[in-house]
Symmetry: C2
Subunit: 298 residues, 2 copies
Amino acid sequence: MEVPSHRYGVTVSTVRVDLVAVVVSVDGQTPRVLAAGAPRRLPAGPLRAEQTSLQASLREFVLEQTGHRLGFVEQLYTFADLGRGGHAAREVSISYLGLAHADTGPGWTRLYDLLPWEDRRPGPRADAGRVEIVRAIRAWARPDRSARASFLWGLDGHPWRPELALQRYELLWEAGLVAESSDATEATGEGMVQDHRRIVATALSRLRATLQYRPVVFELMPDAFTRGRLQVVVEALAGSTVHTPNFRRLVGQHGLVEPTGGVDHGTGGRPARLYRFHRALFTERDLVGTKLPVPRAR
Amino acid sequence: MEVPSHRYGVTVSTVRVDLVAVVVSVDGQTPRVLAAGAPRRLPAGPLRAEQTSLQASLREFVLEQTGHRLGFVEQLYTFADLGRGGHAAREVSISYLGLAHADTGPGWTRLYDLLPWEDRRPGPRADAGRVEIVRAIRAWARPDRSARASFLWGLDGHPWRPELALQRYELLWEAGLVAESSDATEATGEGMVQDHRRIVATALSRLRATLQYRPVVFELMPDAFTRGRLQVVVEALAGSTVHTPNFRRLVGQHGLVEPTGGVDHGTGGRPARLYRFHRALFTERDLVGTKLPVPRAR
DNA sequence: CCAGATTTGCTCAGGATGAGAAAAAGGAAG
DNA sequence: CTTCCTTTTTCTCATCCTGAGCAAATCTGG
């Protein structure tokens, strides 16, 4: 069984390749994604011939298009299925997740306007939309797909898992509840160009999963911050809340942060101590091996 | 801040795109990778214009080149940095991990011939090679990179983490210990064409990480198997051993398997009960959410 | 001064995990 | 047939991690 040349094949596969960026930041307690236009579109650009690495290419065009210097960058997934955008031609998009410091302005779309069901933090809109979605899913899933549906939506005793955002989006897609052609509703969210909403869902899934075993949140934080502020950012990304004493316990016992000595009096209650990320320790470790809690409660 | 058209850019980025497959199987207690030639080369093929999905394209050319029908397939990473193969031209490779049932023959290379230091199971060759590698790394890392080195190699009180295979390969690369041009040594392994060994390391990392939270091993198992056999396969992929009673406890309590009623008398000791994967339960769940133990002992 | 809000620390139960001991059940060698 | 060896299988125990609740400490704002 000899493996032939890898130039094997009948079709010469020369296609156009784009880079697509999902740039995330947290503004107050709302996560935002860089996407402008109507319908919204993720920033994208071509591979640059002169750039040796993909990441450099990505950073450059995000900087040019938006003026933003990306901190953390991670490759997500390469989308290349036929008919992605409606055209017959194949279009290859290499997608990246990037984290940037807080910023607002046009082009910064609220993440949960795109995927409203992913925000489970207590609030006025949360419950109404949830009921509506769950009803629609139950109707569609019955009876064949109900096990999968209740697993993904944390029904019937299953826990809600934040990191399954992509799988939930895909189920909604199959159920016809997030067709990009339809109008935006309160519960099913705002549509985007082509398959960009799927790419955002991919990014959210990956970000939430990464949060559980790598301290990437610090890419979104200023140099000094309170533990309460850190908790708010984590909860914003996870889309659910955590038990405050347990959160600080975990943050503390991993030695992730060290006090700066300063305090913040603007928190409304007892003043909070300021901390900084213990970077010296963790750049060496390639940022692997220490985790922050993401809720996985019922 | 308006985001311009995503057709923005000075260079038209039309490049050739290949699919590369890392097909893994376990033969006895040695993991194998589909790669033939000298130096060895992973099976690769072009995107097929007529295939709608990448996975379908991949399955087809792996079937054509090797006669193998892939079970599990997962996208790994897209390599596209300039000068990957030594040429100036950019070459984009979308890499996939595939799992196949046990098979031998030419073309099936032993995985740990390529990455010998990743096999930590007790054995004659293991200790000798380990000492040699650790000595070389320590010499190179001192003193700046010693924290990173000891973290990755489980030295100075750090645990050995099987899933960091890629990071270990990259450190060895930086240290000049796995230059593909040099001759294969007992400790640093056999070289491959272009950056294929990096792709194999990527696959191993991903496979080991996946093993910890998704029951993908079953893609490598026959329909009926003993728990001892399952443990051997997991240990082969993880490259280290686990405590037998704990392994069976975990497998049992997750409800992953169910007894077929049969027994296997060929194990050399007390006959072992045969089990099958409880597939009905887990296809529904999208194969998420149940895990098999991978050792992370000191 | 009081009410409210937030930070901070402590405790406790339950589950998961690492490690060891040992019984059960067969095959192989003598 | 008996003895030894090997593998499977079941328990037990200590420890750590995690979820959850209670309460004290400390400030701001009215």
